[in-house]
């Protein structure tokens, strides 16, 4: 590997300012360690509006742990968009994401992805992972919240005879239920795994209001390390139930006592509309200012004493580009409201559209 790096350095003397990977990428797009990519190998339809996308990652990917998620970049009409998806494949297997059509980016992924496509990737991350030491587990999932848990089930159940996993999964109807067949087959085949499917269109939602229903579905739930993943409300209710039990505690290390670990995909700060303005946070400078929706963020920052990069002040020179941490901005020239975490924005022609966090 070291020799390879020396060779690369020698080669770059001949092609500077390009790097060897810039040339290699002409032949295969995954040959880039600066921009991690993966090639789609297989697309499997799961339900009418969800698919599993298997991909082969290029250099720089690190193997995922069961339950982790990765940021996936896709191009929509020439523009790169990033979203986070749980990896549904077993740990050790080539990664796969299971995507349900719920917005512009996921919709395109579900409808248009085909083998051979290139996905942009960020290495897997997340703390929603299996406990270090074997323990009886209870998985509570709803809707697409099954995806990280599916990775755990696939990792644990067929390979670890000592595992003890109970899964209670809620979906609207059997047709909408992800991995229905595979879960049933696993439960038939392995005695260490038990699955209960709850179809909410027929029977209503799982009631976390008291412990009665949980008691009925899994009598020893208090002795199990619990994992929950699903919609915001589902998680809030589960958390409330655990908190109401004096002997249990929510959200702590899964390895000690009977605890609940939850995976919450925080939704992006909702962008404001029109001339909203909002609280602007300059994260690195540790400053907060209330800004109106017509003042360029550059002026807002300068007035607050933040050292702002600047140039032409009219949106032509791109000297003021600043990474957006959260929130959305309004382009003062076009009125367009835009912004995704990590996107570089021109502060001289952008105003706050709702709360905005900047990396300055």
């Amino acid at each position: 590997m070291i020799r390879l790096r020396q060779l690369a350095r020698a080669a770059s003397v001949l092609i500077t300012p390009l790097a060897p990977e810039d040339v290699l990428a002409l032949f295969n797009p995954v040959y880039s360690s600066r921009q991690l990519r993966g090639v789609v190998t297989k697309v499997v339809s799961e339900t009418p509006d969800s698919v599993t996308i298997h991909f082969h990652p290029g250099w720089g990917w690190k193997a995922h742990q069961a339950g982790q998620w990765a940021r996936i970049g896709v191009e929509l009409d020439g523009v790169r968009h990033w979203r986070s998806y749980s990896l549904s494949a077993a740990a050790g297997a080539d990664p796969a994401i299971t995507v349900t059509d719920a917005g512009a980016v996921s919709g395109v992924l579900v409808r248009n992805t085909k083998p051979g496509d290139v996905l942009f990737l960020a290495p897997p991350q997340g703390e929603f992972v299996l406990p270090e030491h074997p323990r009886p587990l209870l998985m509570l999932t709803a809707g697409s919240g099954i995806t990280p848990v599916m990775s755990m089930v696939r990792t644990l159940v067929p390979r670890r005879p000592d595992a003890d996993v109970v899964l209670i999964h809620s979906a609207r109807t059997p047709k909408d239920s992800l991995f229905l067949e595979e879960l049933n087959e696993l439960a038939d085949q392995f005695s260490n795994f038990r699955v209960t499917h709850l179809f909410t269109a027929e029977r209503g939602r799982l009631d976390f209001g008291s412990d009665a229903e949980l008691e009925e579905l899994c009598s020893d739930w208090r002795e199990r390390a619990a994992y929950a993943c699903g919609p915001e409300e589902f998680l809030d209710d589960a958390e409330a139930l655990w908190a109401s039990q004096p002997t249990l505690s929510a959200g702590q290390e899964a390895s000690e006592g009977s605890t609940l670990t939850i995976e919450r995909f925080s939704t992006n700060l909702a962008g404001g509309e029109g001339h909203d303005g909002g609280l602007v946070q300059f994260e690195a400078s540790d400053r907060e200012v209330e800004a109106d929706g017509d003042t360029p963020l550059l002026d807002v920052g300068e007035d607050a004493g933040v050292l702002m990069p600047s140039g032409c002040r009219m949106g032509i020179c791109h000297s003021c580009l600043t990474p957006l941490r959260a929130g959305q901005v309004r382009d003062l020239r076009t009125g367009e409201v835009h912004g995704e975490p990590g996107q570089l924005i021109q502060t001289c022609v952008s105003a706050a559209a709702g709360p905005v966090n900047l990396d300055l």
């Binding site: 003397v13 001949l14 092609i15 500077t16 300012p17 390009l18 810039d22 040339v23 002409l26 880039s32 600066r34 921009q35 191009e75 009409d77 020439g78 523009v79 790169r80 968009h81 002026d299 300068e302 140039g311 032409c312 002040r313 009219m314 949106g315 032509i316 020179c317 791109h318 000297s319 580009l321 020239r333 076009t334 996107q343 570089l344």
Partner: protein, 394 residues
């Protein structure tokens, strides 16, 4: 009474340097636009904004595919050209290699580098094709150039005393620049500059006069010197040491060196010619500082249009100039993707005609001849003017 209320309603005086005024007019409107009222200029500004918005609405996958294709072709030519030079003892290989490398360097600097560094492709959010990450095959470091070019030149286009691109601190390119005997060498300096243009720009981007005038700090100067030093060593090593050294394996060391020298010289002469055609041909205006004081967005557009000149020609010619052949459009919309300038040009030209503003364009040989005519003419002091200046300074 109405004037009074209007006055009190106008926004507070803009104090931030460079920001455009929301309403009003510059202290002096450039002569070519003197016939236009404030309302007309504001309307012209809105029309040009609309042209921009129209492109933004259309910009998408086809544009992204375009720049990626150009980059792919350029890298292919670069590798093939350099590889051919490695066996440059063979005459055909040498000619092919030199030609491919020259075209690769021209594409890299003009259609790719210049435009990526303007942020024309930032909207794709591809970190590999982005104004904040791109480095080019040109001696001056991308960051230094972005400062003098994107910020200073594009903001202060052709304002004598503010835009140092008017002559690059070396040539006398405007009659308003005071004549000194040094300027007698104008044609000579320009002829020497052309084949080593990239080194001239690297020197220019150091902003030595600004440093001497105390406008640039010592820290900034040493940072820039270090950056250009590192870059220059890399560029020099690649073309004049590493490539010939590898070519020595086939006994083509000398030929490879001549090849890279030729490719760089061809690129330099071409870039010099194209860039000089942008603002120096007959018909382009220069401006005084009074003409930008209080400038609105509309006035800014006007200055960009009457201060720039296009080059007419084929699609291939536009590509090889990095679409700087659409200098007028580029100056109005420096960060629109270059592949859109051709369609924008039709609208900009129509607007110029309608508002009675000059729209300068011409074939390359004519425009080049025109810039050289200016280089020769301004080597000498103007009659009368010279004596006037003498009197003023006396």
């Amino acid at each position: 009474m109405t004037t009074l209320t209007e006055r009190t309603e106008t926004k507070p005086v803009v104090t931030r340097p460079g920001a455009l005024a929301a309403t009003g007019h510059p202290l002096v409107r450039p002569p070519a636009a003197a016939h236009l009222s404030d309302e007309q200029i504001a309307e012209l500004g809105r029309e040009l904004d609309a042209v921009r918005d129209e492109v933004l609405a259309k910009r998408g996958a086809t544009d992204a595919a375009y720049i990626r294709r150009v980059i792919k072709v350029q890298r292919g030519l670069e590798i093939a050209g350099r590889a051919s030079l490695l066996v440059g003892r063979n005459k055909a290989a040498w000619v092919a290699g030199t030609a491919m490398l020259s075209v690769a360097k021209i594409l890299e600097n003009m259609e790719i580098g210049h435009n990526v560094l303007h942020g024309q492709w930032d909207w794709m959010r591809d970190p590999d094709i982005h104004s904040t990450t791109w480095e080019w095959d040109f001696v001056t470091p991308a960051r230094s150039w972005q400062h003098t070019h994107n910020d200073l030149h594009h903001r202060w286009t052709n304002v004598v005393g503010k835009d140092r691109d008017v002559g690059y601190n070396l040539l006398r390119m405007d009659a308003d620049q005071p004549w000194t005997p040094f300027n007698l060498g104008n044609p000579l300096y320009n002829a020497i500059l052309a084949p080593v243009f990239e080194w001239g720009i690297a020197l220019y981007d150091l902003e030595i006069p600004e440093y001497k005038e105390g406008l640039k700090s010592k820290e900034d100067m040493s940072r820039d010197l270090k950056a250009v030093g590192v870059k220059a060593v890399k560029q020099f090593t690649k073309d004049y040491a590493a490539t010939p050294a590898v070519a020595m394996l086939t006994g083509s060391g000398k030929q490879a060196l001549y090849g890279t020298l030729a490719a760089n010289a061809i690129r330099n002469v071409w870039a010099h010619a194209v860039i000089f055609c942008g603002h120096f041909p007959e018909g382009t205006d220069t401006f005084t500082e009074e003409m930008v004081e209080g400038e609105t967005r509309g006035d800014w557009y006007v200055r960009q249009m009457i201060g720039s000149a296009n080059i007419s020609g084929s699609k291939f010619m536009h590509l090889m100039t990095g679409n700087l052949s659409h200098q007028v459009e580029h100056h109005c919309f420096p960060d629109l993707p270059s592949n859109r300038y051709a369609e924008v040009a039709v609208k900009v030209k129509e607007i110029c005609n309608r508002y009675g503003l000059p729209y300068t364009t011409g074939p390359l040989p004519k425009q080049v001849a025109s810039t050289w005519a200016k280089v020769f003419k301004l080597a000498l002091p103007e009659k009368g003017r010279f004596s006037l200046r003498q009197k003023v300074t006396a």
